[in-house]
C-alpha cells in the first residue's frame, strides 16, 4: 500500500497496540491532538485514553514513568516531541533505561520515539541530531528509518524487542510517500544496500539516505556508480554489510546531519579505516553538519550535507592518490 512515513509509523503504532494489550503510548500532546506531527492521530480514539494518553510537560518523568510502567509489565512507547527536548530526560535514559537490566535482570521493553533532524525551517532546538549521544551509551539500541516501509518494520521490531530502543524519526521525511508492506519484517541490527554500485560506498542513515540516493543518481550521469548503504540501526552497527560493500568499492563516504566532530560518522570512519585498511584506495570522507550549533533556518541548507557536498567527497575519494 502507498503511505507516507508519518502514516507508516501511525500504522506501526496501531498494529503494535492491537497486537499487545500491554503496549502504551504517552507523551506531550499525543492524545486528542494526535501529536504535533499527527503521528499518533486517531490512536486515542481507537484505543482509549488509558492506552494513549497525554502527560504533563516533563520529559524526565515521561521516561521515568515509562520505566515504572515497564516494571509493572507494560510495553511503553513514550514520545519525545522534538529532538531538542530529549535532553531533560538524558539522566533517566543514560542512568536507568540503558542500565536497569544490568542491575536488575529485568528487561525494559521501552521504545522512545523521537522526531529528529533538520531541513524543516524550524526555530532553534527543533532540528537537532542527537543520535551519537545515545549510540555511545551501552545498553541502548538506536534505530532510524529512511523509508516508510522501514519506518513501519523497524518500529514494529523495536517495540517487539525486549531491550530499550531510541527510535529516531527523520521528521523532514515524514510526508514522503512510498509503498509499504506490513507483512515484511525488518530486523534490528541489519543495514541494507539502498542502491547497488561499484565505485564508492556512501554510508547514510535516516534523513541523509535520500540525499545519498540523489547523489548516486547525479553521479551515475557521470558514469560514477555509487553504492548507497542505509544503516537503519546505529547501535548495534552492521559492519558486515558495510564491509561487503567496501570490499567491492575500496572507497567510502559517510554522511549524517549531526556535526562531524565526534559524530556517529567518526565511529563508522574509524571502523572502516581499521577493518578495510588494506583495501582502501582513499581515506574515508565524512560529510556532515558544520561544527556549530544548528544555525537559523535560513542557513540550514549551508549547514546540512547535500548532494553537492556528497559528490565533492566522492570526487575526492575517487581522485585520491
Amino acid at each position: 500500500m502507498e503511505a507516507t512515513m508519518a502514516k507508516a509509523i501511525n500504522l506501526a503504532l496501531r498494529d503494535s497496540l492491537a497486537a499487545d494489550s500491554n503496549a502504551l503510548i504517552f507523551g506531550e500532546d499525543v492524545g486528542a491532538l494526535g501529536g504535533v506531527f499527527r503521528i499518533t492521530d486517531g490512536l486515542q480514539k481507537e484505543f482509549g485514553d488509558e492506552r494513549v494518553f497525554d502527560t504533563p510537560l516533563a520529559e524526565s518523568a515521561i521516561i521515568g514513568v515509562a520505566i515504572g510502567l515497564a516494571l509493572r509489565g507494560f510495553r511503553p512507547i513514550p514520545e519525545i516531541q522534538f529532538d531538542g527536548f530529549i535532553y531533560p530526560a538524558f539522566e533517566q535514559i543514560v542512568s536507568h533505561v540503558a542500565k536497569y537490566r544490568n542491575r536488575s535482570g529485568i528487561s525494559l521493553p521501552i521504545t522512545i520515539r523521537v522526531p529528529f533532524g533538520g531541513a524543516i525551517g524550524a526555530v532553534e532546538h527543533h532540528s537537532e541530531s542527537p543520535e551519537a549521544y545515545f549510540a555511545h551509551t551501552a545498553g541502548l539500541k538506536v534505530v532510524t528509518p529512511a523509508t516508510p516501509s522501514d519506518a513501519y518494520g523497524l518500529l514494529r521490531a523495536s517495540i517487539a524487542d525486549d531491550d530499550p530502543v531510541v527510535f529516531f524519526e527523520p521528521k523532514a521525511r515524514y510526508y514522503v510517500k512510498d509503498t509499504i508492506d506490513q507483512a515484511a519484517t525488518v530486523p534490528l541490527g541489519k543495514a541494507c544496500v539502498r542502491q547497488e554500485g561499484t565505485a564508492v560506498t556512501v554510508i547514510a542513515y535516516g534523513p541523509t539516505v535520500q540525499t545519498a540516493i540523489q547523489a548516486a543518481r547525479e553521479a551515475s550521469k557521470a558514469d560514477t556508480s555509487l553504492e548507497v548503504i542505509d544503516l537503519r540501526s546505529l547501535s548495534p552497527l552492521d559492519m558486515d554489510t558495510i564491509m561487503a560493500s567496501v570490499n567491492k568499492t575500496h572507497r567510502a563516504v559517510v554522511v549524517h546531519e549531526a556535526p562531524v566532530f565526534c559524530g556517529f560518522g567518526a565511529e563508522v570512519a574509524a571502523r572502516v579505516s581499521h577493518d578495510a585498511f588494506d583495501l582502501l584506495e582513499a581515506p574515508v570522507q565524512r560529510v556532515g553538519g558544520l561544527n556549530v550549533p544548528y544555525p537559523p533556518s535560513r542557513f540550514e541548507k549551508l549547514y546540512l550535507p547535500d548532494v553537492d557536498r556528497i559528490l565533492e567527497a566522492v570526487d575526492h575519494v575517487l581522485a585520491y592518490g
Binding site: 500532546d29 492524545g31 497525554d54 526555530v123 532553534e124 556549530v292 550549533p293 533556518s297 535560513r298
Partner: protein, 380 residues
C-alpha cells in the same frame, strides 16, 4: 480526591479565586502584594488609587496593549503569507505583557519564554528586528544587555534557573535590581521550574516568578497539567504566591510592582500566577479545533483585557472616542511599519550568521573551518 483541599481548587471554572482568598488570609499580615487585593482576589479600590499612575500613564497602558495586539496580528499575517516560519500569538495575554513590563524598572532584567513579543516591544526592542528570529535569520536578534531582556528560551522552563541565578548575582552585588521570569502553566511541570523555585527561596533571590496561566500547554489543558495549584506551590519553597486576574492590567501592574519592590528590599522571591487565556492557537502550526471548544474561547472573550480596561478608562473619563481612535490609527501605522521594515531587512552574511557568535575566544580549528566554509561559498 481532587477536592480534598478546599484551599486548592483543582479545576478552574473561569477565574475562581477562592484559593487566592485563602492565600491572602494567610499572608496579608506581612505580604505587601496580597494586601493590595480583596479577599475575592480583585485589586482593591484603595490599591487602585495608590498606583500613582496619572491619566496619561493609565492611557499609555491601554495604548501599549492596543499596539502590541496589532503587532501580534501583523506577525500572524506575515506568517500566513509565508514571510515568517512560525508565529505564536499572545492574543488575550496583553494585560500581562504590558502590566508586568511597565511595573518594572527598565534596568530589571526580564527572562522571557517564547511568547513574550509584547513584553519585548514594551522594552523598546525593534519588533521587525525581533521578527527576524521567526524569519530564520537569527537565533537572537537583540542585545539582551541593552534592553535587560534575555534571549527567548524555547526549551520550556529552562529560563527559570537563569533568572534565579541572575537575581542571586544582583543580591551578591548588593544592588537594588530585581529580575522577572515569565513562563506558562505547562512550564510549572518541568523539573527546572521546581529546582529554580527552591534555589530562589534558599538564596532569597530578588526574583519575581510570573506564571502566565493561559490554561493550555499546546493541546494539554491545565486540568491534565496538574491536580494541584500553581500559586499554592510557592509556600512549599518558603515564599508567597498569589493568584491574580491576569486580564486586569492594573492588577498585574500592582502585583508585579509590589513583588519587585519587595524583592528589592531583600524580602525574597514572589510567585504571581496571572490567570489569563490563550485566545489563539498555540502557534501557527497548531490546530486548536482538534482539542478545544469554540465556546470556551468565546466565554473568555468576554474577559478580554483590552475591552475591559477600555470600558473602565472611558467610565473614569480618562479615555474618549477621539483619543481611542488616534491610538488605533497609531497601532495601524506601527503594524504597517513592522511589515515594511521586516521585508526590507537584509539576510546576514552566512559565515557570520553561522560561525560569528559561537565562541568568544574561537579555537584555531574552528577558525580554519570557518575560512574553508566561506571559501567554499565563494566557489559556488
Amino acid at each position: 480526591m481532587r477536592d480534598y483541599l478546599p484551599r486548592c481548587p483543582l479545576r478552574y471554572p473561569g477565574i475562581r479565586l477562592s484559593l487566592v482568598a485563602d492565600v491572602v488570609e494567610v499572608i496579608r499580615a506581612e505580604d505587601p502584594v496580597g494586601r493590595l487585593f480583596s479577599p475575592d482576589g480583585t485589586l482593591s479600590e484603595a490599591a487602585r488609587g495608590e498606583l500613582g499612575l496619572d491619566a496619561a500613564a493609565l492611557r499609555d497602558l491601554y495604548r501599549k496593549m492596543v499596539v502590541i495586539r496589532r503587532a501580534d496580528q501583523e506577525a500572524l499575517n506575515l506568517q500566513r503569507q509565508g514571510e515568517l516560519g512560525l508565529w505564536g500569538q499572545f492574543l488575550g495575554q496583553e494585560a500581562v505583557h504590558v502590566g508586568a513590563t511597565l511595573a518594572l524598572r527598565p534596568t530589571d532584567w526580564i527572562f522571557p519564554s517564547y511568547r513574550e513579543f509584547g513584553m519585548a516591544m514594551c522594552r523598546g526592542i525593534d519588533p521587525a528586528e525581533m521578527l527576524t528570529l521567526f524569519r530564520g535569520l537569527s537565533h537572537g536578534p537583540w542585545d539582551p544587555r541593552r534592553y535587560a531582556f534575555a534571549p527567548l528560551a524555547i526549551p520550556v522552563a529552562t529560563q527559570v534557573p537563569h533568572a534565579v541565578g541572575f537575581a542571586m548575582g544582583c543580591r551578591l552585588k548588593k544592588t537594588d535590581e530585581a529580575a522577572l521570569v515569565t513562563f506558562g502553566d505547562g512550564a510549572t511541570s518541568e523539573g527546572d521550574w521546581h529546582e529554580a523555585m527552591n534555589f530562589a527561596g534558599v538564596f532569597r533571590a530578588p526574583v519575581v516568578f510570573l506564571c502566565q496561566n493561559n490554561f493550555w500547554a499546546i493541546s494539554v489543558p491545565l486540568s491534565k497539567q496538574t491536580a494541584g495549584s500553581i500559586a499554592e506551590r510557592a509556600a512549599g519553597y518558603g515564599f508567597p504566591g498569589l493568584r491574580i486576574d491576569g486580564n486586569d492590567i492594573l492588577a498585574v501592574y500592582a502585583a508585579t510592582r509590589a513583588a519587585a519592590d519587595r524583592a528589592r528590599r531583600g524580602e525574597g522571591p514572589y510567585l504571581i500566577e496571572a490567570v489569563t487565556y490563550r485566545m489563539g492557537a498555540h502557534t501557527s502550526s497548531d490546530d486548536p479545533t482538534r482539542y478545544r471548544l469554540d465556546a470556551d474561547v468565546q466565554a473568555w472573550s468576554a474577559k478580554d483585557p483590552i475591552t475591559r480596561y477600555k470600558a473602565w478608562l472611558m467610565g473614569a473619563g480618562i479615555l474618549d472616542e477621539g483619543s481611542d481612535r488616534a491610538i488605533t490609527e497609531e497601532a495601524e501605522g506601527i503594524g504597517r511599519e513592522i511589515r515594511e521594515k521586516l521585508l526590507r531587512l537584509p539576510v546576514p552574511e552566512p559565515g557570520e550568521a553561522i560561525y560569528g557568535r559561537v565562541y568568544g575566544n574561537p579555537p584555531e580549528p574552528f577558525l580554519r573551518e570557518r575560512e574553508e566554509f566561506e571559501a567554499s561559498l565563494e566557489q559556488d
